[in-house]
């Protein structure tokens, strides 16, 4: 169950534990760029964490390191008690764009992680169909990505990230390319799925209201070097509803987080 008291320490041992993580890479001019510096972050099991920050604050770098597709710098990362040393079967990733394979139909796109990890095909196919049902794409299993709208494609991306039952779901501005209405719908769906699947989510976003709406904790990052400047628990009751956007408590959270950016106006 997700209740308002869920916090980094509530679940005992956190699912994700990051300590002193740094990352430096060579920039376009050959000079080293400090993308991340001294990142400490714990994410409890079943917790929904949002990361907000301006462009270039390293939030995508953080996610790509957690996804194992970018080598980490100094520091330690543990997921479910295991030190992270590359892509993990226990992680699902939703990218900024849907990244579907156009020659595979929808069902077979969702099946990609299951095929890669050689999971029993029948179970995985049943799970894929359940997930497609859950995101309202029941009749689309045998269509091709080109026939679907952007919002539908991103839903397929979400199903694909969940088909191998990962305990951690990483999402990199998953709905950033969608229009505002679709985005709200997708956020509600995401919360429902998170609740049903009892998943742990780390989601990156540009939007402070979106972060407050979704999260148990909102992590605020700043740029040059990419670092965490604040971490706010969000104690709004669950399930979250769209009308909460207009409540005073919601507004107070948004204002507090926005105060980090007002001076420079770097994010909305």
């Amino acid at each position: 169950m997700h209740d308002s008291m869920t916090g980094p320490c509530a679940a005992g041992h956190p699912l994700v534990h990051i300590a002193g993580l740094g990352k430096t890479y060579a920039g376009a001019d050959g000079l080293p760029v400090q993308a991340l510096d001294g990142i400490d972050l714990s994410i409890g099991r079943g917790q929904f964490t949002c990361v907000v920050g301006p462009s270039g604050c390293g939030k995508s770098t953080l996610l790509r390191i957690l996804a194992g597709v970018m080598p980490a710098g100094p520091g330690t990362i543990e997921i479910a008690g295991r030190r992270l040393d590359g892509p993990s079967r226990d992680v699902g990733v939703v990218f900024q764009s849907p990244v579907l394979l156009p020659w595979r139909n929808i069902l077979s796109n969702v099946m990609v992680p299951a095929e890669v990890q050689k999971l029993p095909a029948d179970d995985a196919r049943a799970r894929a169909r359940d997930l497609l049902d859950m995101v309202g794409l029941t009749g689309f299993a045998h269509r091709y990505p080109g026939e679907l709208s952007g919002g539908m494609q991103q839903r397929v991306g979400l199903c694909r990230a969940l088909v191998h039952n990962p305990s951690l779901l990483l999402m990199d501005e998953p709905f950033g390319a969608l229009d505002a209405m679709t985005r709200e719908t997708m956020n509600l769906e995401l919360l429902r799925i998170w609740h049903e699947k009892d998943a742990t989510v780390l989601l990156i976003t540009h939007s402070i209201p979106e972060a407050v709406f979704l999260a148990d904790q909102v992590v605020v990052m700043a740029a040059r070097p990419g670092r965490i400047v604040a971490n706010y628990p969000i104690d709004l009751p669950r399930p979250r509803r769209l009308d909460m956007f207009s409540t005073p408590a919601f507004g107070a959270h948004v204002r507090r987080i926005r105060s980090h950016f007002n001076s420079r106006g770097e994010i909305d």
Partner: protein
């Protein structure tokens, strides 16, 4: 391709106009040859070419030569395509291998195949094998270079998506890089198919005992211009059929790449 409903005439639709242009040209050719009394030894009229072709078909002269040339083209194309794609897959595995080997392949490509044809005939004899090898060397390069380019064309996001779900290099190759390269490979095969007709004819010109190229030379020696032109027509038809066959397979395999450019639209 739905044609617009409003006032479609022959002149507003390229697909309808194209054959009309051909008919007009043929009629002008026929008329000019007749009106100016051009000797058949210089330029035969289209009607004479068709007549010659009909005679060759009826007398049975054409058929064995046609089969020989088709065999050379198909075998050479097949071998060139398989070796080209296979080598392209090996070299396309990494920028490193590409940078080591590709310059030599380009250098080899600059050697005119027509110039090495006599050598191959001496090495392999007057029979089929020398023509097949010449055709294969010509068909090989477009298949190779397009495979290499295609394998480097996979979007970074697709590779990362697969890596993130723990895919091995081999799985990434099978699930993304190779399918992603297919549009490029088919474009290469299309070029290779048309070039392989040239390969077979060049080989037969250099030294052969049968085939359409051999037949052209024979007819040339006896000043049978209508015959020569009729064989050219047959060669054109073979090339068009190969192009159509590649296009047919491509449309089946690449059903997902709907917006790919067709080198000859309408065919």
């Amino acid at each position: 391709m739905a044609t617009p409903r409003a006032r479609t005439t022959v002149f507003s639709s390229p697909r309808a106009l194209s054959p009309v242009v051909l008919l007009v040209l043929l009629a002008a050719w026929e008329g000019a040859v007749r009106a100016l009394h051009v000797p058949a030894i210089v330029l035969p009229a289209p009607s004479a070419v068709v007549q010659a072709l009909w005679l060759e078909i009826r007398s049975g002269i054409l058929w064995p030569h046609f089969l020989v040339t088709c065999e050379e083209i198909l075998a050479g194309f097949g071998i060139g395509a398989i070796v080209g794609i296979g080598l392209g897959v090996l070299i396309g595995q990494s920028r490193f291998l590409e940078q080591v080997f590709y310059p030599y392949l380009v250098a080899a490509q600059t050697v005119p195949k027509v110039a090495i044809a006599p050598i191959l005939v001496i090495w392999l004899g007057y029979g089929l094998s020398s023509k097949i090898v010449i055709t294969a060397t010509i068909a090989f390069f477009p298949a190779l270079s397009n495979t290499i380019v295609g394998l480097q064309a996979t979007p970074r996001e697709q590779m990362e998506m697969l890596r993130a779900c723990t895919a091995t290099q081999w799985q990434i190759f099978c699930m993304a890089r190779f399918p992603q390269a297919l549009p490029y490979i088919f474009a290469g095969l299309d070029v290779a198919a048309v070039l392989s007709v040239i390969g077979a004819i060049v080989g037969e010109f250099v030294g052969a005992r049968a085939g359409l190229g051999y037949l052209i030379l024979q007819m040339n020696f006896s000043f049978d211009m209508a015959g020569v032109f009729s064989i050219l027509l047959v060669l054109c038809l073979i090339g068009i059929c190969l192009h159509l066959a590649v296009g047919l397979v491509r449309r089946r395999v690449l059903f997902w790449a709907a917006d790919q450019a067709d080198p000859l639209p309408g065919l």
